[in-house]
């Protein structure tokens, strides 16, 4: 099936009388299958290999850093009294937040019957899984005695001889992130089984036939199976929706439940969730715009899809900007000296630059999306989304480090600066993420084939 790029059709135009198509180029069922499975069947483009080698190099550097960390202890990081939480928790919150867009696309947009999600949900869910792996790594290696990590779980261990404290937000975090990862993985895998069956039925080599045969669990597309499958899919979506909101809420409890000025606020849960979706959509745009060009998927991931995501980026960016403003208002209105100092210090203290990077990247730059050209031009939206990624990383840095370095008592103030290991581990986590994502593009269906078929014009008429 030829996948000619249909450049004449502008599917970003809203005509109340007629629905704009979500798949262009006149693709039919087989055309969709060929477009997606073609990625899997053909050799990877050279760009894939270049990025993959770079990602693996950084993954190896990350591995080296973690080995160094285990051998020497957490002193190889810049964390020191009073800033005991720094890059590790910043990276953790950053990566968990990125994951949220995937679940939002796959679960919340599913419940709202937003059919445009079908083209991007698979890749976004994969991004969720890999982002949560990157996120979980940081607190995992931060616990010092990594070999007794299982003390985090309510497992009766002879060594600890004690149960965990269920009233601690840090334990809630273990449960929240662990559940989030597991449920996302189940959701992702279950959604992929019909597409794995497609790959199984197209497999040429014996190894592929066996591997994809096992992975697809003997799926035949029986309508009886589809019936239960759709029920299970809806249930998982309905479960993931409160779950994804709870995860970043609980992550924000790590901060909000403490009494540190700048952390102890009730605005944190909604503020964190909005920020998470904001950063996650930015990452989806960052990943999918190059991917659609690389694999020629412009007819499936259309400008309309990208524009919708940019609208969400703009909306959540405004929410985040409002939260920044409200924080300052409450600091003034609350009349607590320590609080007002904490926020003055954020904007004008030692780390003033990080605060203004955050505001510029998160609040100012996304306003460009008010202009239609900006939100429908692929190369431009990638630049904006990269700024948003940087800004959201700095948001977590601002929250964590400025508050810790300047608490109530001036005698316990300090200044945090990362070490080389900190910085290499941050870049290395991108190496881990991109290695996994590129392998995903190579070996698994990048687009939810069966779901896209469901929103083809023919089915809509049905």
């Amino acid at each position: 099936m030829a996948t000619t790029l249909d450049t004449h059709w502008d599917n970003t135009h809203e005509d109340p009388g007629k629905r704009a198509p979500l798949v262009l180029g006149g693709l039919d069922y087989a055309g969709v299958t060929d477009s997606v499975a073609g990625i899997w069947e053909s050799r990877q483009p050279r760009t894939w290999w270049i990025v993959f080698v770079l990602a693996v190099i950084w993954l190896l550097i990350l591995g080296g850093c973690i080995f160094h960390l285990f051998m020497k202890g957490v002193g190889v990081w810049g964390n020191c009294n009073p800033v005991f939480w720094a890059f590790d928790i910043v990276n953790f919150v950053f990566w968990v937040g990125i994951g949220h867009a995937g679940t939002l696309i796959s679960a919340i947009l599913f419940l709202f019957r937003q059919n445009w999600r079908t083209s991007i949900n698979r890749a976004a869910e994969a991004m969720t899984i890999f982002a949560v792996i990157c996120a979980g790594m940081f607190p995992g290696v931060h616990i010092g005695r990594i070999w007794v990590f299982y003390w985090l779980f309510p497992i009766p261990t002879e060594h600890l001889a004690m149960w965990p404290n269920f009233r601690s937000p840090l334990l809630w975090d273990v449960f929240a992130v662990g559940t989030y990862f597991t449920v996302s993985l189940l959701f992702w895998y279950m959604g992929m089984v019909p597409d794995l069956a497609t790959l199984r039925d197209r497999a040429k080599t014996r190894v592929k036939k066996i591997v994809y045969g096992i992975l697809s669990l003997g799926w035949t597309g029986s309508v009886r199976s589809w019936h239960r499958y759709e029920a299970a899919y809806t249930i998982l979506a309905a479960l993931s929706t409160p779950l994804v909101l709870s995860v970043h809420t609980i992550v924000s409890f790590d901060f909000a439940v403490s009494q540190l000025p700048g952390w102890h606020t009730t605005i944190f849960p909604p503020y964190f969730v909005a920020g998470a979706i904001f950063s996650g959509f930015a990452m989806v745009v960052t990943l999918l715009v190059p991917a659609r060009t690389l694999y020629g998927l412009q007819n499936i991931i259309t400008i309309r899809h990208l524009e919708n995501m940019n609208k969400i980026i703009m909306a959540t960016g405004l929410m985040v900007g409002m939260a920044y403003a409200i924080e300052f208002f409450i600091a003034w209105y609350g009349g607590v000296q320590a609080e007002s100092f904490a926020f003055q210090n954020r904007a004008f203290g030692n780390y003033w630059w990080s605060y203004w990077i955050m505001v510029t990247c998160n609040v100012v730059i996304p306003q460009l999306f008010w202009i239609k050209w900006c939100r429908t031009t692929p190369w431009f939206m990638v630049i904006v989304s990269l700024f948003v990624n940087v800004g959201m990383w700095f948001e977590r840095f601002v929250i964590t480090v400025t508050s810790l370095s300047r608490d109530f008592v001036p005698s316990s103030w300090g200044f945090y600066w990362p070490t080389e290991v900190d910085i290499m581990m941050l870049i290395g986590s991108f190496g881990l993420f991109f290695t996994m994502f590129l392998l995903f593009c190579r070996f698994l269906p990048l687009i939810a084939i069966s779901e896209v078929k469901n929103v083809l014009p023919r089915s809509e008429q049905h």
């Binding site: 309510p154 001889a161 029986s222």
Partner: protein
Amino acid sequence: MAHSAKPGAVHNHPRNRLVGLMAQFDDPESLVAACEQARRAGYVKLDAHSPFPIHGIDPAIGIRRTRLPFLVLALALGACVFGLWLQYYTNAVDNTAIFPGYRFFISGKPNWSLPANIPVTFEIIVLTSAFTAFLGMWALNRLPRLANPLHRISRFRRATNDRFFLVIEQADEKFDLNRTQQQLEEWGATAIEQIIEDLADRELPRNLKLAGIVLALLLLVPPALIYRAMGTTSRYPRLHVVPDMDVQHKYKAQAIGPNLGDDKNPSYMYGDRRAARPPIPGTVARGQLELDTEYFRGYRESHPTGLFLPRGHAELVLASGTRPMPVLDSDWQDPGHDAPGTAQDASPADGTVVPAEKDWVQEFPSQITVDEALLKRGQQRFEIYCTACHGFDGNGNGLVNQRALALNAQLKAKWTAAKSLHDPTVKVQPIGRIFDTITNGRNTMGPYGRQIPVADRWAIVAYVRALQLTGIQPVVDAPATGPSATDGQPSAVE
């Protein structure tokens, strides 16, 4: 109208079995229509296959609503109860079955407060529900099923791509190969094929079966080893995979080594590998001067200074003009030197060799008043420290002694039998000598000076004397010497 099946062509083979007929349709609408026709024609055992869920096909083919949501609800409610119980049991109950709970008073918060327990309960509910939905869906669909006769049909590969299939099973009462085929053609099938099951497909591949058996047997090994290890003893310490902080590379005040740095280039605090300096010669710890040797050691000091001084230091101390201090413990000597000699030719370090010709005190020192309270105290201490070997009546039949003598007989121990306190050689000993025995030990008897305070040692001495005077001893080895059994009360010791 494309392929037509050739009835009776393949399924005659004894290993093969006709499962049913499979008809291909080119679009979802004609599949739904065909399903409706088939239902109307009375077929019950039929299924359709499509590359994506077709809406409206469920009533056409007669699918009832799945019970999956109720299954998920039931397990979610169970998970809610479990989550709350888990947190209550581990955080708010005094005596849990295995380990102490986290009943610590933190920030004035109660041990059991529902708001703090909502997050974990919620996560447990979601986790359980998600697994139920996921696993329940596969179980209800009878998947994974890796061998399916449909996969033998190359045409069926398009069921995951762009074609739609209706399958009518042979097991259906209405099924008749020719008639059903004809009907399917009427309903608009673009191709019809027989589904032939190769019965060999149902069997596991032989290698897989073998591998499964081997794996199952191997899995039995760890539990078998654990079972064997249960209740057995070992001469070796338990396997300790992660030594945590058992061995730390740091200086310890009272020990030699371990060194810091690597093996080839060790780094010690001082040349003698110690991390602390020994006290200056002549140092006496506060409250341990103990010049009154009669009270503290049980003999009168014949030497005017009464000192144990290391060779070479006595002159130094005396020459310095200060009053020399007794050194009671020669532990501080640098390792590698010869064993320290002392002015008295005694080596109190091991506490066993004491000169026999000491001037033992014959009477209790003035600090000790011998009365009933002292004897009661002595009896109590004696029963704690001495009876294990010497027995309650002092004739040396304590349990440890009995066991050790039994081991001696089997040549498993070298034990000098505990003396009977009624032994004539013991009875004639001056009390200072008995005090010294308690303090420093004799033969296999260890020194008790560090465990029993001085006053209690004297109390024990008094009680020992009382025992000897009352002469309670078994008839068999009772020599007629010594005072008679009726001779006076313990208070008349002196």
